[in-house]
């Protein structure tokens, strides 16, 4: 299973990932980088959680945990109920502009289909983002300065490293 790795000690708040995502997804970005304190940006987007409350909340079968590790919304099956939006612990799902379809990061499914990595990962000037098997990601994360979080509310869908200074009590 593949997981995302966000090394936020390196993030410079340039928002290249937003512009790249927007370009790849018909003008709507599925990531929003937010300053959580004056010196720490955090990209808000789907963490592709191992435990996936969005999927469990969906009354249809519109949300799928794909074999590779990605959580995918099948928009054609979406009934606009908004339950996944409420269930997501990260606020990473939104209904589209018309309030119809739930949308979120699909790890650039269309790119991965022909062997290309997600756009945010490739475009990130500061090289904050990686994607790969959990063991490989953990091996990389262990070498990084900062505090690494392997499990959060969604368990291990995404591994995150934050600078020590931003972590209360560390």
């Amino acid at each position: 299973m593949n997981v995302l790795y966000l090394n936020l000690t390196r993030c410079i708040y340039c928002r290249a990932c937003e512009v790249a995502c927007e370009r790849e997804h018909d003008g709507i970005s599925r990531v929003a980088v937010t300053l959580v304190d004056p010196r720490q940006p955090v990209p808000v987007s789907c963490r592709h959680c191992e435990k996936h409350p969005c999927l469990e909340a969906c009354p249809e079968t519109a949300i799928e945990a794909a074999p590779g590790g990605a959580i995918i919304i099948h928009t054609r099956k979406c009934i606009s109920c908004g339950l996944c939006v409420i269930a997501c612990p990260f606020g990473a799902i939104e209904l589209d502009a018309g309030g119809k379809i739930a949308e979120k990061c699909d790890l650039c499914e269309h790119r991965q289909r022909d062997g290309r990595l997600p756009a945010c990962l490739l475009t990130c000037p500061a090289r904050c983002i990686e994607y790969g098997p959990l063991d490989d990601i953990l091996a990389v994360a262990r070498t990084k300065p900062g505090a690494t979080f392997v499990a959060a509310m969604g368990e291990t869908g995404t591994v995150v490293t934050l600078p020590d200074r931003s972590v209360p009590g560390v």
Partner: protein, 685 residues
């Protein structure tokens, strides 16, 4: 990447000086997609937000499609023949009546080497050294300061080499916004345990990652650097072997530093002595230290002094000429290094041959088929605007620059441009400057013409033509060649394509001798100096000797001078200006990108919570910023990112440069964009 008709062609990003590569998708004469080029040595595929938006301007509805001539308050469409012949006739009239020095030319750091070479050649054959471009406004101080101390006014090491540094000293550079790719290599160095010192009046994203922040006052750089050097000498941290073998002038520098008083340095800079000591020790003791700088160093009336001080620091510690050790002026535009190399400067011919050097000037004159070239140093960018105001300059030919947004004291620039007998602007959009022109010529942009670009690392890369220009727009090289032929130099401007121009550059410039089209077309291009065909290029400068005549690095004592303008009762705050990550220079491209404009919509001023509270200002409120030169209305951003007493504005939107000071560095003639005394008041809601 789907679509069988799409051809993916390697391209160079048209924005900053980093020179990232990407793949442009071409289908039926349109650019339809962008893909990351992961094996590109500069960027490994990465692109900043501007790079991601690079295609948005290409097919924009605002593109200029036809030559225009002024009719009253508006423009009228005319044919190319009418435009070119009309301009040539008026230029020749002005040359006859007022002399060639009544005409000025602005080249462009957005255009190719071949185009800049042709424009400066035309200006000189026309009879004037009044040829300059925006390098005058960004790194003129670096070119002058490093030429004097190290013999070459360019970055010494490749960008990726920063990853090998043990101490990174950043002063006056917000590379996280202005050259985002630098963050990649700095990040790698920090993960290896490198120490990051940042000297900046603002808390930029570079500072977020710093181990030590020196928050010095705008314009106090020389004092700060002298303080650091004082500590290095006091504590015996200087590199005696390097100083003895590779430098001259040490005794004079040591004597001048003896007079520096660290308590006085703290007073001038606002930086505690202990922090200055820590920075000096870290920089000097590290195995390999690098200095990175940009406009925070150069855009001062002491710009050259600032750069010489940085060279002094590097030479004292012996941190130059090795992997991870060097001097890294980060250049701002895709071809600003190249435009300088080509001689689009009022004091240098191609290859940095001083216009005053009779022997070498004669050699170039012979290559250009003329007995003599003008010998007097010409007017620089800001001097041209001043001369336009007094009437000494009667005509200005502008290739792809927008001084109505980017030059200091814009109200004065407007007066000057209106006072001209002839203003010609060739550009891709009807810019704020083009709106004042007598003739507007529609130009091709990067994807619509072939040519080479030289990035901040001195790396020369070829951009192939991908699509035809829109309407009747033409590549700049073609327009300039026509102008050259029509003004009397038919034999010198018989230019069928850019390739033979690069061959001529190879012949004229020794550093470019081996920079052939074939080499520049390879992935990652070739880095000058490349003195002969087959030479591998020179990524690291000054490894065994400096580029000065005697081969030594020249230490030179520098005394602190305050900025030209000081805060007073009427204008108690210091305004400093710069870039944001989402926009680019005059904004003529990025303000036309939906992705970028929706993320950064309009002019703003950053003000500290204390200064805002004192004036009763709230975050997001409309305010008026005023200086001795004018005022500008914008939104207030109340933020601790700026220190009390200092405010910051980006210059991408109209207004900021109405405020800035056009006082110049005496040598480099660069204006002091970084220090203007100002006042801020709230506007009624």
């Amino acid at each position: 990447m789907s679509g069988p008709m799409i051809e993916w062609v390697r391209s160079i990003c048209p924005f900053c000086g980093v020179g990232c590569g990407f793949l442009a998708g071409v289908e039926r004469n349109r650019l339809v997609g962008l893909e990351y080029l992961t094996d590109h040595p500069v960027c490994e595929g990465a692109l900043c937000p501007k790079g991601n938006a690079a295609l948005e301007t290409v097919h924009h509805a605002d593109r200029l499609l036809h030559p225009l001539v002024r009719k009253g308050d508006g423009f009228e469409r005319i044919s190319w023949d009418e435009a070119l012949e009309g301009i040539a006739a008026r230029l020749l009239d002005i040359q006859r009546d007022h002399g060639a020095d009544a005409v000025g030319f602005l080249a462009s750091a957005k255009c190719t080497n071949e185009e800049n070479y042709l424009l400066q050649k035309w200006a000189r054959l026309f009879g004037t050294n009044n040829i300059d471009h925006c390098a005058r406004l960004c790194h003129a101080s670096t070119v002058a300061g490093l030429a004097r101390t190290l013999g070459a006014g360019a970055m010494t090491n490749p960008m990726s080499d920063v990853a090998h540094s043990d101490c990174i000293f950043v002063i006056g550079s917000n590379f996280t916004e202005c050259h985002p790719l630098a963050s990649r290599w700095v990040g790698d160095a920090l993960e290896r345990g490198a120490f990051l010192v940042v000297a900046d009046p603002r808390v930029t994203p570079v500072v977020w990652q710093a181990d030590l922040h020196l928050r010095h006052r705008p314009g106090s750089d020389v004092a700060l650097l002298n303080g650091m050097m004082k500590v290095i000498l006091q504590e015996g941290l200087h590199n005696e072997g390097f100083i003895a073998a590779r430098t001259s002038g040490f005794d004079v520098l040591r004597q001048s530093l003896a007079a520096v008083d660290l308590a006085a340095v703290e007073e001038i800079t606002g930086v505690p002595v202990a922090a200055i000591q820590e920075a000096a020790r870290r920089y000097a003791r590290a195995k390999a230290s690098v200095i990175m700088w940009s406009m925070g160093i150069t855009q001062h009336t002491t710009g050259v002094d600032n750069v010489i001080s940085l060279a002094n620091l590097a030479l004292l510690a012996g941190h130059v000429g090795r992997p991870g050790a060097g001097l890294m002026p980060l250049r701002g535009q895709s071809n600003v290094q190249g435009a300088c190399d080509m001689g689009a400067l009022s004091n240098f011919l191609t290859g940095y041959v001083p216009v005053t050097d009779a022997e070498r000037r004669a050699r170039i004159a012979a290559q250009w088929g003329t007995p003599e070239l003008p010998a007097a140093v010409g007017l620089t960018v800001v001097e041209m605007m001043h001369a336009a105001g007094t009437g000494a300059l009667r005509a200005l030919y502008v290739m792809g620059e927008n001084p109505m947004i980017t030059d200091p004291n814009v109200d004065h620039v407007r007066e000057g441009l209106r006072n001209l007998d002839l203003l010609v602007v060739q550009d891709i959009f009807l810019t704020e400057t083009a709106e004042l022109a007598d003739y507007v010529l529609p130009a091709a942009l990067w994807a619509e013409k072939a040519g080479s670009y030289t990035n901040t690392e001195r790396r020369v890369q070829w951009q192939p033509r991908l699509i035809p220009p829109p309407g009747e727009a033409l590549p700049d090289w073609q327009i300039i060649a026509s102008m050259g032929r029509l003004t009397g130099w038919a034999d010198q401007f018989d230019v069928p394509s850019p390739e033979p121009v690069l061959a001529e550059i190879n012949a004229v410039s020794p550093a470019y001798r081996g920079v052939t089209q074939e080499r520049t077309q390879a992935l990652g291009g070739v880095t000058w100096p490349c003195p002969e065909e087959g030479h591998p290029g020179t990524p690291i400068l000054h490894e065994t000797r400096f580029a000065t005549a005697d081969g030594l690095g020249h230490l030179e004592p520098i005394a602190y001078r305050p900025p030209a303008e000081q805060p007073d009762d009427r204008y108690p705050l210091v305004l400093t200006t710069g870039r944001t990550v989402l926009h680019y220079n005059s904004g003529s491209m990025t303000r036309r990108s939906k992705a970028l404009l929706t993320r950064e919509r309009s002019l703003f001023v950053e003000i500290s919570p204390a200064d805002a509270a004192q004036r009763g200002l709230e975050d997001g409120q409309q305010v008026r910023v005023s200086t001795r030169r004018g005022d500008a209305d914008c939104l207030a951003r109340v933020t601790s990112a700026t220190a009390a007493g200092v405010v910051f504005m980006p210059f991408h939107f109209a207004g900021a440069n109405v405020l800035t000071n056009d006082a110049l560095d005496p040598t480099a003639k660069i204006p002091e964009y970084k220090v203007a005394a100002c006042q801020i008041e709230g506007l009624p809601r």
